[in-house]
Symmetry: C2
């Protein structure tokens, strides 16, 4: 299997964490440089018409896309350690936390969206950064409230075992740190992030530790 | 169980379709009027700090959020008819199609995002509508290419049985129609939409048929 990766893509970062948990190492890895526009090269678009990273190519050359779909797949073919709890209600809670990051924060701060703001809409850099911060704050405020008040929150987002929710949380916090967002209003998120980053599966997936890191 | 719904929310529309497939009727339904800002009322925020629709309250008062997490839950507690195929690779394909709508198109065209564009960034109505159309076209172009070229596409997005992918596709096409987007470049999407809307589970979930429709 082959991972199409980019060190700074938080969606690719999620998949790297999941692969580490499952003890799976792709036979091959390609680095798609997003800032240089390599995701729009014809070869890559043939592989993944979405023009997004990550993509995950199986040995039969089938290509899986969308980080959460890839992680659910990894969790199905290699059930241990489980990245989702057993009970349907708990699975729904974990997936909802993951989706509240993957659907409500991350897509708004994608590179192509920021480019549309400054390019097509003529937003200033200040407006673009304000936009970036605003959607992180809106998303984190809701998430902090959800996690802080819920008894199912433990060392990690759900109990004392890392799950898909943590796998989405940590890369999003890394993005927020890169944009120097004040994280003091989110003590629960920061506490969980610290617990996660003590685990090799998270630490080894960090952007700075990837071969294509700048 | 109780569904917090809004006729025009495409995320709620997805859950309505899934409930119909599973033959489940919520004992109660509340309508959260998004244009009147009812999702920001304190009562609703206590229930769902995300301030988004849908929310799904279980009999034990646990509240599930995020449409895809709710649908996966429904599919787990009531496996028939299955909304995901059996094989992991096929499940990944279906989830990726669903996520390419739920993560790459829908969040950019959410009401609160459009409000930020016109309110905070001072975008004109024309710019706002251009934004809306742009992200639908970008998403639909990729999806049309993915579906048209893949042999696993059948009557529906994946084979001849409706899945989670179709459940995301049909509401997104309804949004596109409401914005009078030219759909001729997307014949595969339109063909699948027509097949879906022949099924009562889809037809009965349509916005115009809900009690709160205007």
């Amino acid at each position: 299997m082959k991972l199409y990766d980019y060190f700074r893509s938080s969606a690719a970062y999620r998949v790297r964490i999941a692969l580490n948990f499952k003890g799976l190492t792709p036979d091959d890895r390609a680095f798609v440089h997003l800032r240089m526009g390599n995701q729009r090269a014809q070869d890559y678009l043939t592989l993944n018409p979405q023009g997004l990273v990550p993509a995950f190519e199986l040995d039969d050359h089938r290509v899986l896309t969308q980080s959460l779909a890839i992680i659910e797949y990894l969790n199905e073919i290699r059930p241990e350690p489980a990245l989702l709890p057993d009970m349907p209600e708990a699975r729904a809670r974990v997936r909802a936390i993951a989706l509240s990051i993957a659907c409500e924060i991350h897509p708004l701060n994608n590179l192509r969206v920021l480019n549309y703001l400054t390019g097509t809409l003529g937003a200033t850099d200040e407006q673009k950064n304000g936009w970036y911060r605003y959607w992180i704050d809106v998303g984190f405020e809701a998430l902090e409230r959800q996690l802080a008040r819920n008894r199912e929150t433990g060392t990690y987002c759900h109990g004392d075992t890392p799950t898909l929710a943590d796998i989405c949380l940590v890369p999003q916090l890394a993005n927020a740190r890169r944009f120097k967002i004040d994280l003091t209003p989110y003590p629960t998120l920061v506490r969980i992030e610290a617990a996660c980053n003590k685990l090799p599966a998270f630490a080894l997936a960090a952007p700075a530790r990837q071969p294509d890191a700048e």
